[in-house]
């Protein structure tokens, strides 16, 4: 059983932490997490990390949060916020690292992907210095 000293603070070590993929490319921040309550009455555990404006808007609440979440939800085909299964998480410190590559996570950052595809097609995009 984990002692309190060996445990981590969700507020400090998880929420709003940068998430990087297997190649250390930033893929977002932890905007929220999904908790599951087991049927046997045990303590809840995290099943997924929620990422993106929809999750952040729902977390903030109020008119600003509601507007943010609604606008982000309209840009998605899936009604629930983008999520990462917690089994993909490799470690949490110093940042949240996942075992998968961003290219293999189609549910993450769809707007950024869409924009990147358009920018790649723009005249002169191939001449940009690396």
């Amino acid at each position: 059983m984990t002692t309190v000293r060996a445990s981590i603070s969700a507020r400090i070590a998880l929420m709003d932490k940068q998430i990087v993929d297997r190649d250390r490319l930033p893929i977002g921040r932890v905007d929220d997490a999904e908790l599951q309550l087991p049927d046997d009455g045990g303590p809840p555990y995290i099943t997924a990390l929620r990422i993106g404006a929809q999750a952040l808007g729902e977390r903030l609440g109020g008119s600003v949060g509601g507007t943010m979440a609604a606008a982000a939800a309209r840009l998605r085909t899936d009604p629930s916020p983008a999520g990462l299964d917690v089994s993909l998480v490799e470690h949490l410190e110093p940042m949240v690292a996942v075992r998968a590559r961003l290219a293999d996570l189609p549910q993450i950052a769809p707007l950024e992907r869409w924009l990147a595809q358009r920018i790649q097609r723009a005249p002169g995009a191939g001449d940009a210095p690396q």
Binding site: V4, R5, I12, Y45, L92
Partner: protein, 109 residues
């Protein structure tokens, strides 16, 4: 249930007394299981927990440390076994406030 919902919940002890909002959630590093919640009330409690004074992660500046000192002393840890109902709006404990461990003492264990 969302983590942020639990973070906003109010903690109620066995006798129905409100102990204040959840200030933090402690997680097991290997299973991501919630091992307990931190509860605290009073002036500067939010700052004490958000800036790490309650956990002993922050030591200064001196003025902030003094202002948050009372909130740090009053912070309590409720283990998952002491939680009867996980909310989401209220977390009900099966113990009284006096039976909860001070956070600083729990962090030394």
């Amino acid at each position: 249930m969302r983590l942020s919902e639990v973070m906003k919940a109010t903690v109620i002890d066995r006798s129905g007394r409100s102990l204040g909002p959840v200030r933090d959630i402690r997680l097991a590093t290997n299973t991501y299981e919630v091992i307990g919640v931190v509860v605290g009330a009073g002036p500067f409690a939010r700052a004490a927990h958000a800036w790490g004074y309650a956990e002993g992660r922050a030591e200064g500046p001196w003025l902030l440390k003094m202002l948050t000192r009372r909130a740090v002393r009053q912070a309590r840890f409720a283990a998952s076994g002491q939680v009867a109902d996980w909310g989401p709006e209220e977390i009900r404990l099966n113990v009284e406030l006096a039976e909860l461990t001070p956070l600083m003492e729990a962090l030394r264990r």
